[in-house]
Amino acid sequence: MRPRLVKSQREMEGRFEDVWVLVDEDDDLETWAEGAELDVVGKPATRDDGLLRTSGAARYTVDIALPGMLHAQVLRAPVARCRVTGLDLEAARATPGVRAVLGPDGPFTMRGDAVLTAEPGWAGAPIAAVAADTPEAAAAGIAALSPELEALAPLELEAGLEEQRFTEEPRETVRGDPDGALDGAEVKVELTCETPAHVQTPLEPHAAVARWDGDSLTAWVSTQGMFDARRELAGRFGLGNEQVRVISEYIGGGFGAKQGAGVEALLAAELARAAGRPVHLALGRHEEQLVGGRRAWTRQTVTIGARRDGTLVGIEVAAVVAMGAAGWIFPVGEPALSLYACPNVRAMIFPVKTSLRAQNAFRAPGVVEGVTVLEQAMDELALALEMDPLELRRTNHIELDQGSGLPYSSKRLLACYDRAAELAGWAERDGLREASSDRLLRGMGCATQIWWGGGGPPAHATVRLDAQARALVTTGIQDIGTGTLTSARIVAAEELGLPLDRVVARGGDTAPNLYGPVAGGSMTTPAVMPAVRSAAGSVRRTLLSLAADVLEIAAADLTISGGRIRSRDGGLDVDVIEVTGKLGNATIDGSGARGPNPEGFRVNTFGCQIAQVAVDPGTGVVTVERVVAVHDVGRIVNPLAASSQAEGGVIQGIGYALCEELLTDPTTGIPVNGHLDDYKVPTIADVPEIVVDFVDVPDANLPNLGSKGLGEPPIVPTAAAIANAFAHATGRRAGALPLTPARVLEALA
C-alpha cells in the first residue's frame, strides 16, 4: 500500500463537510462496468447469519448477561416540563440490592447537554438512575427517590409559533424570484397538509451493557454508530480509543433512532464505574416510544406555479416543524429545491420548540416529510392542468442539482417512471375508478423519490486469506438488519475470485479499529463496500504474484475466478489451494480504504412508486392494494436483500400514510399512545402486494462499485403515492396524514 492523504467531501443526509482521506495509490480498481460478467455480485444470496437469527441463538445487546451484572432503571419526568424540588437519593442508596445511584447533581453531560437534569423540558427526560442486583430492586430504588416536582406548563405548538419560540433561527433558502414567478404563474395551486409524529419503534429498545476492566471499558450498545459511541464514551471518561471497545453485533432495528452511545450507554458506564460491577440498561417499551425518538410532526403549505404546458415556474414551501426540545433541522425543504426543474424556489422551515424529546433521525429524515406534501401538491397541479401526473413529472425532469449547479453522477429517474408505470398498469388507472362497484372507491397515485446515499470516505476494511483459501473480511459495519455483512462477503468473493462460501465477514466490534461509518444516511454499501473491494483487490494482487512464483507463469497471464487460477492461454487451470496451500500458517493480508468521491458531481438516488388503494366510504377505511416501487440506486450487490429493504421501506411508509401517529395531550404535553397496542404499526395483515424493481445500472462515476445506498430511498415516496391514490379514488384530500377512518370520513363528508 502506498498511502496518501487527499482532500475530499463527505455527505451525511444532505450535510456536506470537507475531510482529509487516506487513499492507497496502488488501488487502481476500475468500477465494474455495466454489463460486466460478474460471478457473485448481483446474484441473490441469503444471509450467512440467517440461521443464528432464526434459531434464537443471535445475541442482541438486551441478551448480554455477565457475571455480577446489575440492572439499571431511570427515573423520568412524568410531565412535560417541571422543576425537581426534592429527590431522596439517600433513600434510594439505602434500598436493599441497590448498588449505585446517580442524580442530577453531577456534571454529567452528553454533547454539552445534561444527561440527568433537575429541570426536565420534556416528558420522559431522565432525572436519576439506579443500578441494583435485580430489576425489581432497581424499581424499588427508583420508587424510593420520591421526587417532588413543581409542574410547569408545557410548550404548546401554536403559541410557540405565535411567540416565535424556535429551537434556532428559522431557515429560508431562496433561489431566483419565487414571489414574481408565483404572481405571474399561468396556473397556481396551494396545498396544506399536516404530517404525523412518527416513532421509529425498533423492536429491540435502546439498550447498553457496560463493563469496566481496570481503566478499560467494554460496552455492548444497540447502536447504529459504534465508532461514534466509542468516541463519546472515550470523551466522557477521558480514555484513549484503545481503552474503549464497543460491540454492536446484533441490533434489533434502529431506523435512525439509535445514534452513538446514547444516554443508555453513558448511564450504564457511569453506573458500572460507580458500582464496580457490569450494568445492563434497556428501555421498556413505553420508555422507548416516549424517549427513543421520532420523525417530527409538520404542517406544510406548498404553492406551485406553472405554465399551461406544465413547466414549473415557482415553488414555495413553508414548513412548521414541531421540533421538541431541540434537534438538528432536517431538510424538509430539499424536495422543493431539487426534485424538479424550477428556477424560482423558496423553502422556509419554522422549527418550533415544544415539550417533547428532541426530534431525531427516522429513515430519510426531512425528505419523507417534504416529499409527502410536495408530491400531493404536484398532483393537484396535474389536476388543474388536466395533465397526467406522471407526464407532469417527466416534463419537469432535470439532470443537475440546482442547488450546487453540479450534474448528478447518474440519474435514471425517467427509466424508473417508465418501469413503474408498466408494472402498475398506469395507463389503465382511470379505469380503476369505473371498476369501483363493490362499494369501494379505487384509485392509483404516484410519487417521485430523491435522497442522497452516495456515501463517502472514510471507511476501512481488511481481508485475510489463509492456506485453505478461506477469506475473512473485517469491517466496521453495524448490520442493523440490512444484510450488509453478506454484501461485504459478496464483494470480496467477486474480487478474490472465490466462491461465496469461502468468504466470511465480520463487523459489529470496534476492537479491530477498522472504521466504518454510522449505519445511516444510506451509506454503508457505498462507503464500506469499495473499501472491502479495495482490500480484496490487494489480496488478489498478492495471490497472483505468489501464483506466478509457484506456477512459473507471469502474474499478468493469470486470472482467478470461481476458486480456480487459470492462465489466459487456457493451458493451466488449478484450484486456488494449489497456491494458498503453500502458505502454511502464513496468510495473505490486504487492507483497503474508501477512496474519495468524484469531484464535480452530486450523488443522489432516485425512484418512483405507484400505489393503488381502495377506500370504503362507509367506514373510512383505506386499504392499500398494491405498491410498485422502482428505484435507481446504481448497481445492486444482493438483489434478495435489496428487495427486502425496499419492501420494508414501503411498509413503514404505509404506516406513516395510514396508521402511525404519536398523539400528545395538548394540556399536559404528554404523549398518550406510547404503547404498541395504541401506536399502530403495520402488521402482516395490512401489507399489500409490493412489486419491487431496480434500474440496476452501476454509477460509473462512483468508486469502485457503482453502488449507492438503499436504506432510505424506499420509504421516501410511499405516503405521497398513497395520498395521491386516495385523492384519485375520492376526489378529496384529508389535509392531514395518517388517513385514519375518522379523517377519511371527514374528508368525504
Binding site: I251, A685, I690
Partner: protein, 147 residues
Amino acid sequence: MVNGEAHALDVPPTRRLLSVLRDDLALLGAKHGCGEGACGACAVLLDGKPVVSCLLPVGAAEGRTVTTIEGLDEAAAALQEAFVAEDALQCGFCTPGQIVSASALIASDPTPTREAIRVAMAGNICRCGAYPKIERAILRASGQAVG
C-alpha cells in the same frame, strides 16, 4: 416442562414466564419486545398453542409443557431454513417469535392459505417489514408454491 426438560423452580407464581425463561433458564431466544402482549416477540408454545410469555404468570405454566424457539421440532427447522432462503428477516429480533407462531400454525393447518397466514401471524410485529417474505417462507416451509 420446558423444551422436554422438567424444571422445579422456586419463584413467585406471578413472575412472567418470559422473565423466568430468559433470566432463570437462560433461554434467550424469546424476546422482550413490549412486555404488553402486543408484539409477539416473546411467543412460546404452551401445550402446543402460541402464547405471549411476557404476560403469562409462570404459575399458569405449572404442570404444562412450554416450548421455546430453542426446543422446537424438526418441522420448525424447515421453517427456519425457509425464513433464511426467502430472506424473511432483517434485524431478526422478532424472528424467533415469528417462527414459534408459524410452527403452531403449520401444526394445526399443514397447508395454510395466504389468508390463513395473514390471520395467524397478525400478532407478530416485524418493524423491519419482512412480512411479504414471511408469508412466502411459511408457504415454502409447508411445501406450497410460493409464486
